[in-house]
Structure formats: structure tokens, C-alpha cells
């Protein structure tokens, strides 16, 4: 057997090209990480850990503290996740547990289309509708404008809803149907079956769905850029205070997508500070994707003997 397998491993052109292209893809990711580390070194040398914890960013005074943007990114993503998680999981419970097959496909197709809408179109709708709705809806807060962290969060929630819903639906449908039939046979209602059988066995998969959705939310640029207000150094007194939500802010991505990226290139330190934001974002999102992929794999392994 061993000799047979070795015989199948001759180095042909097809094999060589396949491995070369694979290596290219691996090298690209490595190169991106290496490049970001290398190009951001001056910023880390200049500000040290203060680069992450510093509260002020004035590039003309060479003050580079990214905390306000990190805060903005996490607040916007948290709002998006808080809104999209219950709706997405609820919708998945309905499509996987209640909806008859005939109606399933149209709903799934609609969700797929929603996932396909470009972020610049979401941004456009955010500018022309959502920010006015937020402005009018929160009149009592006396907003300066409709461009707020909350607006960006709501827009992001719609954008990550398909991710949450599709992956949660997949997780629910991986639960064997025989168990559902058994539960119904014992006299449980549809709701009880959905929660005690479906949800109870697939919540791990749903956590994975939320994790991957969070990764998307953290990295989304264009839609957030258009409605977040892009106000530098908008850091509240405490991380958990609510009012700053309805003020303009800045996220890591809206900073990277802004004009400062073009201005910064001439000045090594300023450029390093910009690339440092990219490095920070890449590390977090890559970590989340990695954890999500690991979780999903583990789930498959656990499910295999059951299914």
C-alpha cells in the first residue's frame, strides 16, 4: 500500500503548479502581515504601548494614540451584534424549525441576495435614509447630526444579518430530524422542540456564526465610513457610558479609508501610525476568523458520529 501511494506522488507539472499557486496564496498572507509589522515599527518605537492606550491622535503634533478608534470599532460592532444576533437566530429558528420547505427557499434566496448587496449601496441608503431616521427618532437627545456610532451600528447590523442567519440555519439543520420527530411524538410543541432539541444542540454553531459575523463587522469599511461621522478623539469618560453612542466617532476602518492615508505616505512616522491601525485590525480579525474556523471544524467532528 505504501509503495502504491508513493508511486502516485510523482512530481508532474500539474502537481508542481498546484503547489506553487498554493505557496503563492500562503506567501501573500505572510507578506501582508510582515509588511504591516515592518512598516508600522516606527510608530511602536515612537509611542510604545501608548499607541494602543493613547487617547489623542493629532498627527501634526505627532501624537498617535489609537484608543478612540479602537473604542469606535468595538462599540459599532457591539451594537451591530446586539441587534443582529436575536433577529438572526430567531429568523434561523423559524426557517429551520417551523417554515415548510416550499417557503424555505424564497426566504433563503432573499437572505442570499441581502448578503450580496455591495457595502457602498448600504452606505448610500444609510446616508439618504437611516441617518435621517436616527436624527428624527432621537430628537429628544438633541443630536448634532444623524452621523453617529449608533447609525453605523444599525447599518452594520443589517449587513451582518445574512451571515448570522445562514450559519445559524446551517447549525440547526445539522441536528438530526429523528430527534425532532421524537420530541414532537412525546407531545412537545413546536416551540419547545425548537428550543429544547434544535437550539440546545446547535448553540455552539450559533456562537461560531456570531463570531464570524463579528469579524465581518470589525472590518467593514465603506458603509461605516459614510455614516459614522469620522470625528477624531471622540472618547467618552467611561467605556460603558451610553450617550456617546449618539455622537459622531471614528473607527479603525473609517480612519484607514479616509484621506489621511494618502496624506500620511510622505511622513514615515505618520505612515507607520496608519499602518499600525491596519496591523491591529488584521491581528484581531485574523484571530477571530481562526477561532471561528476551529470551532466550526470541532463541531463537524462532534456531529459526525451522530449524523
Amino acid at each position: 500500500m505504501l509503495s502504491l501511494r508513493n508511486a502516485a506522488r510523482h512530481w508532474t507539472w500539474t502537481r508542481l503548479a498546484s503547489f506553487a499557486f498554493t505557496l503563492l496564496a500562503v506567501a501573500f498572507l505572510g507578506l501582508m502581515l510582515g509588511l504591516f509589522v515592518w512598516q508600522s515599527l516606527p510608530a511602536w518605537k515612537h509611542a510604545g504601548l501608548g499607541y494602543i492606550t493613547g487617547k489623542t491622535w493629532y498627527f501634526r503634533q505627532q501624537e498617535f494614540g489609537a484608543l478612540a478608534m479602537i473604542y469606535g470599532t468595538f462599540v459599532v460592532s457591539a451594537v451591530a451584534l446586539l441587534l443582529a444576533a436575536p433577529v438572526g437566530v430567531g429568523a434561523a429558528l423559524f426557517t429551520a424549525e417551523v417554515l415548510p420547505n416550499r417557503w424555505r427557499l424564497p426566504v433563503k434566496a432573499a437572505v442570499e441576495l441581502l448578503a450580496g448587496v455591495p457595502s457602498v449601496v448600504y452606505g448610500l441608503l444609510g446616508i439618504l435614509f437611516l441617518r435621517n431616521w436616527v436624527y428624527d427618532g432621537l430628537e429628544s437627545f438633541d443630536l448634532l447630526s444623524g452621523d453617529t456610532l449608533l447609525t453605523a451600528g444599525i447599518l452594520l447590523a443589517v449587513m451582518i444579518l445574512p451571515t448570522v442567519m445562514t450559519l445559524s440555519d446551517d447549525a440547526l439543520r445539522a441536528v438530526p430530524a429523528t430527534q425532532r420527530r421524537a420530541a414532537r411524538g412525546l407531545g412537545l410543541t413546536r416551540a419547545e422542540t425548537a428550543i429544547l432539541v434544535g437550539f440546545a444542540q446547535s448553540w455552539r454553531g450559533m456562537l461560531t456564526a456570531l463570531l464570524l459575523a463579528l469579524g465581518r463587522a470589525l472590518g467593514e469599511t465603506i458603509a461605516v465610513f459614510l455614516v459614522v461621522g469620522r470625528r477624531d478623539n471622540a472618547l467618552p469618560e467611561s467605556f460603558y457610558s451610553i450617550p456617546p453612542l449618539v455622537e459622531a466617532g471614528q473607527t479603525l476602518t473609517s480612519k484607514l479609508g479616509g484621506s489621511e492615508t494618502n496624506i500620511a505616505y510622505g511622513d514615515p512616522l505618520h505612515w507607520a501610525a496608519i499602518v499600525g491601525l491596519a496591523l491591529f485590525l488584521l491581528s484581531i480579525v485574523a484571530g477571530i476568523s481562526w477561532a471561528g474556523a476551529r470551532l466550526m471544524r470541532r463541531k463537524e467532528e462532534c456531529d459526525a458520529p451522530l449524523a
Binding site: F21, V87, A91, A110, L113, G116, V120, V275, A278, S289
Partner: protein
């Protein structure tokens, strides 16, 4: 009591499921309604005039198609290589697992970071300036995981006896690739590409610093300093400072064209994609 709770549960979850349907209908409806007025033969075939307020978006459509074609040509060979390595050549489960993790991580990389990478490497280091080639390469790399994963799924679902028959005939791995895997699984490549292109077509962040400008470019004739116009960047710029009603109409018209392009590509890939997801269920 239990049955009331049951009804309440069904009502709440049904409302949740109705929300994405309502939102997509709203999005398509609003853009078709407001952009429909701008659509005309002239709009599709004329160039930009008066900073987007007048004229059409011919070179924007052309530019986006050039970017997509380049992205397609870049991603297909690399994705095929990745899928063959994962599905055919690699025998070690741990190595396969690592490659899969790598693809997942690549899939999650925010699009703006591709743009920054392209700015550093192609625009500045290689000195290409803004070029359609950079955008094409970046979009190709971005859609790589989508294409590769679709191909890999297809290889995984290949009937076991095909592989056994190939092994029984004494075919080597590479012979098996050309006689079984490629003919049987090319569909995965097509679905993946359609889906990847649908995502790539609407991307703004990777191309805004590297390959696209708002006005003043036509069909590029070289690589260096040859930017193109594009649909998403056109929308992105007009959306930020559009108080001119005429520009507004053209803005919605551009959004409608982009939406039709993107959703058209998604719709073509939809049957295969639903098939993959529906197979994971078992009732």
C-alpha cells in the same frame, strides 16, 4: 398556556424571518424607483459630464468589467491550485486542516487591508501609480477563498467510486486530476467565481487608493499610471457630496446598474449555493 407560548414563539421568529425579506425588497424597490428614471441608452453609453451631474457612466461600467475580468483571471488558477492541493495532493489531515484555516483567515481579512497592501506594494514600491492591474490583482486575491472553497466542496462531494475507479486503473494523482476531478468538479469553479465576482464587483475599499479615480479615465492602454473609472467608487464619491438633484438622479441610476450587476451574478450562483446549504440538512 403552552400553546399560547408556542404561538408567541412562532409569531416572534416569523417576524425575525420576515425582516430580511422586507429589507431586501425595500432596497431593491427604492433603488429601482429612484434610479429607474436615470436609465436610458444615453446614460449607459455616454461618458461623465459636469462632475457626474450630466452624461452617463459608460467608462465606469467598462472599468468595473475590466477589474472583474482581471480578478477572474488572477483568482481562477490560484484557486484551482489551492483546491487541488487540498482535495487531491495533500494526504495528511493536519496539513489539510492548516490549509483550510489559512483560507478561512484569508476570507476574513477586511477589504480595506487589501487596499493598503496594494498601495504599499504596487502603487508605491513597484511604482505603478493607480492602475487597473493592481485593483484586478487585489480583487482576485480577495475572491480567492470563495472560489477555492466552492471547488473544494465540489471535490469533497465527488462520489467515492469515481476515485476508486481511477485508483483501480492505476492513475496517478495528476492523471486523476485531469480525467476525473477537473471534468466533474469544474461546476464548483464556476459557482465560486460567480459568487466571488459578485462580491468583488461592489467592493470600493480595495480599489479606492490603488486603481480607480472619479473622472478623466477611459480604457487603459498600459499598466503604469492607468487608472479606470468604476461603479462603486462613482457612488462612493457622489454619495458624500451630492446636493445637486441631477447628480442625485445619476447617483441612483449608477446604484441601480451596480445592483443589477451584483445581484445578477449572485442569482446565477444561487441555485448551486442553496444546494450546498440545503445538503447540510437532513430532512
Amino acid at each position: 398556556m403552552r400553546h399560547w407560548l408556542d404561538r408567541l414563539f412562532i409569531l416572534c421568529t416569523a417576524l425575525c424571518a420576515a425582516l430580511p425579506v422586507v429589507i431586501i425588497v425595500f432596497i431593491i424597490g427604492v433603488i429601482a424607483w429612484r434610479g429607474g428614471g436615470a436609465l436610458s441608452w444615453e446614460f449607459l453609453t455616454d461618458q461623465i459630464r459636469s462632475a457626474g451631474a450630466d452624461g452617463g457612466i459608460f467608462y465606469n461600467i467598462a472599468g468595473t468589467l475590466i477589474l472583474l475580468m482581471t480578478a477572474f483571471l488572477v483568482s481562477v488558477p490560484i484557486a484551482t491550485g489551492l483546491a487541488l492541493v487540498h482535495g487531491v495532493y495533500l494526504k495528511n489531515e493536519r496539513t489539510k486542516e492548516r490549509l483550510w484555516l489559512l483560507l478561512s483567515v484569508l476570507n476574513g481579512v477586511p477589504s480595506i487591508l487589501f487596499g493598503l497592501f496594494g498601495l504599499i506594494v504596487f502603487v508605491k514600491y513597484l511604482g505603478w501609480g493607480k492602475s487597473w492591474m493592481t485593483g484586478g490583482v487585489l480583487l482576485g486575491l480577495m475572491m480567492l477563498p470563495t472560489v477555492a472553497v466552492a471547488f473544494i466542496e465540489q471535490i469533497k462531494s465527488l462520489p467515492r467510486h469515481y476515485i476508486e475507479a481511477a485508483a483501480g486503473l492505476g492513475l496517478s494523482d495528476s492523471q486523476r486530476v485531469w480525467s476525473v476531478v477537473m471534468p466533474q468538479c469544474a461546476g464548483g469553479l464556476v459557482t465560486g467565481s460567480l459568487l466571488g465576482l459578485a462580491r468583488a464587483a461592489g467592493e470600493t475599499a480595495p480599489i479606492m487608493f490603488t486603481s480607480t479615480i472619479f473622472a478623466g479615465a477611459t480604457i487603459p492602454s498600459g499598466v503604469k499610471e492607468s487608472p479606470v473609472l468604476s461603479l462603486p467608487y462613482h457612488i462612493f464619491i457622489l454619495a458624500q457630496d451630492s446636493f445637486d438633484p441631477a447628480a442625485g438622479t445619476n447617483l441612483w441610476g449608477t446604484a441601480l446598474v451596480l445592483l443589477v450587476l451584483v445581484l445578477g451574478l449572485s442569482l446565477l450562483a444561487l441555485p448551486a449555493r442553496l444546494h450546498i446549504h440545503e445538503e447540510s440538512g437532513n430532512d
